[in-house]
Structures are given as C-alpha cells and as structure tokens.
C-alpha cells in the first residue's frame, strides 16, 4: 500500500509540475518607484489561449510604457496569476492579489464567469478592476470599482440581429449555441430578442454542450428548418467544425457570429466552409490608423505570431489604466478608480471609446466578412445605431 501511495504522490507531483506555473513576483515591500498591476487570466486548461494572448497584449503595453520611463517616473510591474480556466480559482487568486500582493489595480479576466466571481473581491478591497474582454452585462454590475474596455453582449447580440435583418435583409434565422456557456447563451438570448423585435423569425434553435466537438445532430435539426442565416455565437475552436458539418449536410446559408470567432486560425480551421460568413469584431485589422498598424507591427515583432482581439483589448486595458492614473492625479487605487470614471474619447487600438456611468466602454462593433484568405470590413455599428 505504501508503494501505491508513493506512486500516486509521484504522479500528483508530475501532474502539478506540468501545469504551467504562474510568473509570480515575490511580494516585495511596497516599492515607491513602481506601480503594481495584478493580472488574473486563464493561463492553463481549456481556455489557456485566451489568457496567453491577452497577457501578450498586456505585456507589450507594459514594456512599451516602461521603456519610455514608466508613468510619472514609476515602472509598471505585473503580478500575474493563473485562474486555470475556472471561476472559483479566479476568486482565489483575486484574494491573493488584493490581500497579499496589494496591487493598485487589477486587469482580468477574459471569461465573464471568472470576472463575475473575482469582482466582489476587488470591490470589497476598493481596488479598481478592469476587464479587458468580459462582455456579459453582469460583470460591471458587481460594484463601482469594476470597469471594462470592451462592448457588451446585449449590444453585440443586437448589432448582429440588426445587421442580419437590415443590411443582409434576412427574415428567417436559426441559432446554434453552447447551452452551458454564459457568453454563448447570453448572445443567443440577445440576438433572439432583437431579431424578433425587428420583425424576423427564429425558425429553429439547437443547443450543444460547450465541450462538444461534433455537431451533426444540431445541423440536421437546423437544416430541416431551412433558415436564411444561422447565428452561431460560439468560440473559434468550435465554429470551424460547426461550419464544416453544415456544409457537409448541404446547408449553404451564411453563418453569423460574435467576437468569439476571432483567431488567426479561424480560416484555416474552417477551410473554405466559412467563406461569405460574417462576424462582429472589436476593430478592423486592415484599419490604416497608425495606432492599429503600429500595434500589429510591434506585436508581431515581439511575439512572432499574429495578435487577436484579446491581445488588443489587453493592450488597451493597460493604456486605459495609465490614462486613468493621469486623469485621477495619482496611482493609488482610489485615484485610478476616479480616473477610470473620467475616461472620455480615449483613442485605443480597438477604437475610440468613453467609459459610461455603468463603467462600460461605449464603443462601436465592426462587422467583418470572411473571404478566401482575408477579412473585409463591411459595416461599423455605433452604440447610437442600436436602441
């Protein structure tokens, strides 16, 4: 029995040693010449990609700022924690950041579920939290310390519905979504509401469990209803497979999705099956704005890969915090929080935005059309276009 135990322990140790570690800095005594930014993201497990690409964007911005001498002579220091793709773990590391590391401001997370769990911790500690890309409306309702620099799912869902109804002039839509995913289900709900309010009909809905890798039955169900367009608010790892299954069963209607589709791998994973489909996105990668092009170039030079929208939002989150330090008049938590409420017409990579009274970024959504090898901007929808 002892050998058995030893073996189990050895395996546990191995498993743990394989889990990518966090790049924690020892909490050193409050140095006067640095500003601590807590970062909590999924760096391992199912959504590790979200965290890693966001962290790249954050790192790029911090390095740029520190190279130019920091903020008011102080260096930005990141304290990074891995949430292991779990909302519970997000709450745990949020407590560490708030009580042990005593960060001035926190950036995280991508997944709304994690942000919602972590938010009350920062709220209680009076530390402002900026989510780069959690789009669920509940996130910033957790308290007056919780901010975000991305648009919301209700706006995203409504924009997709308006685009499908008004611009593409489709009247019959079907929805395929992940039943157990807040993001997917939330977008499906908002799309359904807006599309029917405009006068369209939802002819069929088919749900799946988020971990599914096979969508034949959902496709069969939707194919029978013969929709004009299929709304698929899912992540990029699924959409390629979903699109392939639709085309295999002879469904030619275009698919429409949200920012979850976005990835440098999108077109490759889908093959030609997504040609002529559309999705809503945070910015236009072909935008000639020097801010966008400069960011793309710097990112590619530093990481040798293509950035995605999560990187851009992480990048913008850091610069938004820096702007808040300037507007708030200092780098204490209270001053940064105050500064964040004053962000107005901030010019970032992901567009020009202001933080509204709900502590959400008011910004436009860019609808992109997928071509053979590239993405083309077809429409920009402003918050004022959607009521």
């Amino acid at each position: 029995m002892r050998t058995a135990l030893a073996l189990v322990m050895a395996f546990m140790a191995l498993v743990l040693s394989f889990t990518p570690g966090c790049k924690d800095k020892d909490p050193d005594p409050q140095a006067a010449n640095e500003i601590k930014i807590g970062v909590f993201l999924s760096l391992s497990d199912a959504n590790a990609d979200f965290g890693k690409t966001t962290l790249n964007g954050i790192q790029l911005a911090v390095d740029e700022i520190n190279e130019k001498g920091g903020v008011n002579g102080k260096k930005l220091v990141l304290v990074t924690k891995d949430t292991r793709s779990s909302p519970e773990q997000a709450q745990t590391v949020a407590k560490e950041l708030a009580t042990q590391d005593k960060v001035a401001v926190a950036i995280g997370s991508v997944e709304s579920g994690q942000s919602i769990k972590a938010a009350p911790v920062f709220q209680e500690a009076g530390i402002p939290m900026v989510s780069p890309s959690s789009t669920n409306p509940e996130v910033t309702k957790q308290g007056d310390c919780i901010f975000r620099v991305c648009y919301l799912d209700d706006f995203q869902g409504a924009s997709c519905a308006a685009f499908a109804y008004k611009d593409l002039e489709f009247r019959k839509a079907a929805i395929i979504f992940a039943q157990d995913d807040d993001y997917s289900k939330g977008l499906a709900d908002f799309f359904r509401k807006s599309f029917t309010a405009l006068g369209g009909t939802i002819v069929e809905e088919a749900a799946f469990q988020g971990k599914a890798s096979e969508f034949k039955d959902q496709v069969t169900k939707i194919a029978a209803a013969n929709p004009d367009v299929i709304f698929a608010p899912v992540y990029y790892g699924s959409i390629g497979l979903i699109a392939r299954d639709f085309r295999k069963q002879g469904v030619k209607a275009p698919l429409l999705g949200g920012d979850g589709w976005e990835s440098p791998q999108l077109i490759q994973l889908a093959g030609e099956t997504l040609e002529g489909c559309y999705f809503g996105y945070h910015y236009d990668p072909e935008d000639s704005d020097p801010k966008v092009q400069g960011y793309l170039k710097a990112y590619k030079a530093k990481f040798n890969t293509e950035p995605n929208s999560l990187s851009a939002l992480g990048y913008d989150a850091v610069y938004t915090v820096v702007k808040a330090i300037e507007l708030g008049g200092g780098d204490t938590s209270a001053q940064i929080k105050d500064g964040l409420t004053k962000i107005k017409d901030f010019h970032g990579v992901t567009g020009t935005y202001s933080i509204d009274s709900g502590r959400n970024a008011q910004k436009a959504i860019t609808m992109l059309k997928i071509g053979g090898t590239d993405l083309k901007k077809v429409k920009v929808i402003q918050p004022s276009d959607i009521k």
Partner: protein, 313 residues
Amino acid sequence: MAEADITSQLLQYSANGLAKGSTYALMAVGYTLVYGVLQLINFAHAEVYMLGSHFAYYQARWAGYLPEDSAGKPESVPIGLALGFVAVAMIACSLVGMLIERIAYRPLRNAGRLAPLITAIGVSLLLQYGGQAVFGTEPKLFPTFMETEVYELGPIKFPNTNVLIVLTTVVLMTALTLFVTKTRPGAAMRACSHDMKTARLMGINVNATISLTFGIGSAMAAVAGVLVAMDQPAITPLMGVQIGLKAFVAAVVGGIGSIPGAALGGLILGVSESVVGGLWETSYAEAVAFVFLIVVLLFKPSGLLGKATREKV
C-alpha cells in the same frame, strides 16, 4: 412539419448516430479488453486516443503537409502515406499503452482494486496536462487524409469520412473477434481473463499477454483518434475526455468484458443519442447516454451481453 420531413430527419439522425456510435465502439473495445483481463478501468485510454491523432498530426506536419503559419492552407496527404502515418501512430500508441501498463499498473497488480483505479485517473490527468504543456492548448488543424465528399442516399447525407468510420469499425471489430477466438495469443487472453493464476500455472506468459491486451486496445484507440480527427479536423489535448466517458458508458451498457457487447453498446448509445437528442432537444443528448446507462444497469447489472458473475466471498 410534414410527415416525410420527420422520416427523413429520423433517417439522417440515425446515420449521424451510426458514425458516432462506431467511434464509441472502437474506443469501448479498449476499456472492455483491459477490464476483461485485469478488472481495471483504464481511464488513460481516452488520452491514448488523443495521442493517436496527435501522432498522426505531427508526422504529417513534419512531412510538410501542414502550413507553418496560421494563414496557410493544408495540402492533401496521398493515401499511401496517410496509411503509413496511421500505422506509425498505431504502433506508437501501442507502445504508450504498454508503457502505461508497465509503469503505472503492473507494480500495483496485487494492491487491490482502488489503488490502480486512482493511478489510472492520475495517468489520465498527467497525459491531459502534459499534452497541454507539450502540444500547446490551441486547437490544431488535422491534415487532410481524404478530401471530403458527401454521398446522398435519398434524403440522407453521408460524408465519406463517416462511411470510412463505419467500415473500419466493422473490419477491426471482426478481426479482433477472430483474433481473440481463433488464435493462440487470443486464447491466452481469454485464459487470463478467466483465471490469471491458473493461466500462469498452465505456462501462459501472463505479463506478455496483458501487455498485448493493452497494445491492441491502444492501437484501436489510435485508429479511432485518427478517424474522428478526419471527420472533425481540430484536435486538442482534451479531445479524449468526452468520447472517453461515452465509450466507457458504451462498454458498461454492452457488458464490460465483452467485445460484441462493446460494439452493441457503442452503436446503441450513438444512435439513441442522435435520435432522441435530435427529435427532442439536442443539448440533452449527453443526458440520454447516462439515463440509458442507469436503465440498462437496473435491469441487467452486468450489461446487455455481459456474463452474470456471482461475487466470490
């Protein structure tokens, strides 16, 4: 909805389920073989499946059939070479399976039931997380072994990948049944399954037979991994979790320890998931699998084709 529509949908769901069930069956065999011989649930089997598709993926990548950057398009792999990749993946997976048995299960063979079970879960997690560390977490595009073609049979659309899945499963299951019932190593496997001590006394090399069992099961998992990846060409280190669970259910439903049981369990599970899920509510398909498991076990505790065994006291 028109009557004809329902019929054609029902047929399409059955076709979907047939392909899905075949992959469950291929995987269930791995659980059943090992259980038959060792009474061990080899949870790491699902990860061997994952490794199978990754081994094939990396060979194709190193051979230059996948684009280096994320924007490029993959080239089609010639059929002969693809078969070679699959053969190598099968051999590699067999070795991994045997290695797992040698390192993680054999030292615990006399340590009761619980210890190897925990180790099996440990190996499974090790491979899931180790896979994330080594292969990366992003989904990878599986190389094109076969250009997709869709056959239409009346209202049913059946892609060639699914035809291949069903045919391969039939061939492999038949071959395996013949191997176990007609050959000497097969007889040795049956003897070990029946009574390991007596088998040893009869001069059967028990360790070699157990290794062989793991090797065969793992090779079939590799084939399943490649077949599924050809149909759904995005592979990740966690791809084994779902199918592993379903195949395990299929093995238990069919009667764990029985090869025809694994085939039957897989097919019934696949088709019922598709038909019930499709006609009722697609997100409940998962629940169907487990309701099915409970119902079968209530009436036939040893599974549909399992042998009823009396507990020796």
